[in-house]
Amino acid sequence: MKRDPNDLQRYTASERANHWVVGISFILIALSGLALFHPAFWPLSMLFGGGVWTRIIHPFLGVLMVVSFAAMAVRFWKLNVMTPTDWEWLKRAKEMVNGDDHNMPIMGKYNGGQKMLFWALVVCMALLFVSGILIWRAYFSGFFPVGVVRLGAVVHAAVAAVMIALIFVHVYAAIWVKGTIRAMWYGTVTRPWAKQHHRAWYKEMTGK
């Protein structure tokens, strides 16, 4: 994909860097977390230098992810406030998934699905952070009654699974909608891309 002076800037360099920190820490934390979650994934612990290192590193990566995500949330939350059009979009999401986006409501920088994903991630991150503290045996578990730690373990596992699924969808959507991934790499999208998928934002950016 060539760079074109007519391309539209979707993300600044620091926004992209921030997203990559979240993304990388997410991948590492998901792999190490899965290793501790089900024996089927145990071999993943080898990527981190064995089980002990996996156990040591995982929670620190978690802190990195939560902190970098929080920074991203602060940057983007305003853009993700749901509007009536977004709800309308969500109602028709099925058409979109079926590959027919002709009748979809006109969207701003983010569509209803992206916004829902954003808020779902905010909730997941918060739950994972709190439950993660509860089950971080090396420093914190001792301060809580065992019943709370047990609840923390269930919440942590369940929410983590939900979040991994959400990220699968997030990544897949970016692969599915051609011309999207470059926004993550170098921040720009083509005009036709913007006009097709985020017409209101396109108008905002170009006046057309």
């Binding site: 501790l36 145990w42 998934v97 045996r137």
Partner: protein, 300 residues
Amino acid sequence: MPLQSLDIAARSATTTPPPGIRKTLEVAKLIDVTKCIGCKACQVACMQWNDIRDEVGENHGTYDNPRDLTAKSWTVMRYSEVESQERGLEWLIRKDGCMHCEDPGCLKACPSPGAIIKYANGIVDMQQENCIGCGYCITGCPFNVPRISEKDNKAYKCTLCSDRVAVGLEPACVKVCPTGCISFGSKEDMKDIAEERVVELKERGYGNAGLYDPQGVGGTHVMYVLHHADKPELYNNLPPDPAISPMVSLWKGVTKPLATLGLAAVAIGSLFHYVTKGPNEVSKETEKEVEKELEEEGKQ
């Protein structure tokens, strides 16, 4: 396993069955609390045989010393002073430590393959070389037994002297108890001994005497004879009806396969979506529209 006495019945974080064609005798340790004089010989024997020396602690105004189980104190005498109308002051002394559950919550919770094993004879043992120090065993245990060492971050607890038992010896605490309060043998035999003792205690006025072999964890391989089996909580909060917490069962039960299948479904679903619906590309019309717009802009 070359030693039949070390045949394994269950292994943490392992989904396939262990070798299991042989039937090994189930063992148990019976602690007759009613005969215990609280001398702590068993505590000392445990330290000696297992070669562990705990830090010298402080006096907390009770005989409990050390105050709690630690990575270096696998058994601790708990002294409870109990007052009741009928009996006045009673001193109930319980030797605390791992109960060697038939259905061990520690093993269920452990994420590291082979860090906790249950031998076919019923002994639950931690294999520190496989332990990653996560402490999930503490979260899983209904008796609050395992402890993580601050020195090496490995989990430790009573082994029921699996090394001695494997070669036909009784656990060190059993060997040393001066009052004969601790017995060791097949679980069946231990139940028989307990039964006789309970009859004796009932004759002597302990109407509620009984055996503590809680079925909520499938029975245990360390059992108590209690004078007040109706109120185990009198003995320093021995749980009356211990079981693996439903939270732990949820966490280590349905969540694991459900989440794994769910994630696989999302991944495979995405792949097939792509294959069946094709990519979502910018339409030719939009491209043309934009081209036109740009041209117009150029003209202006």
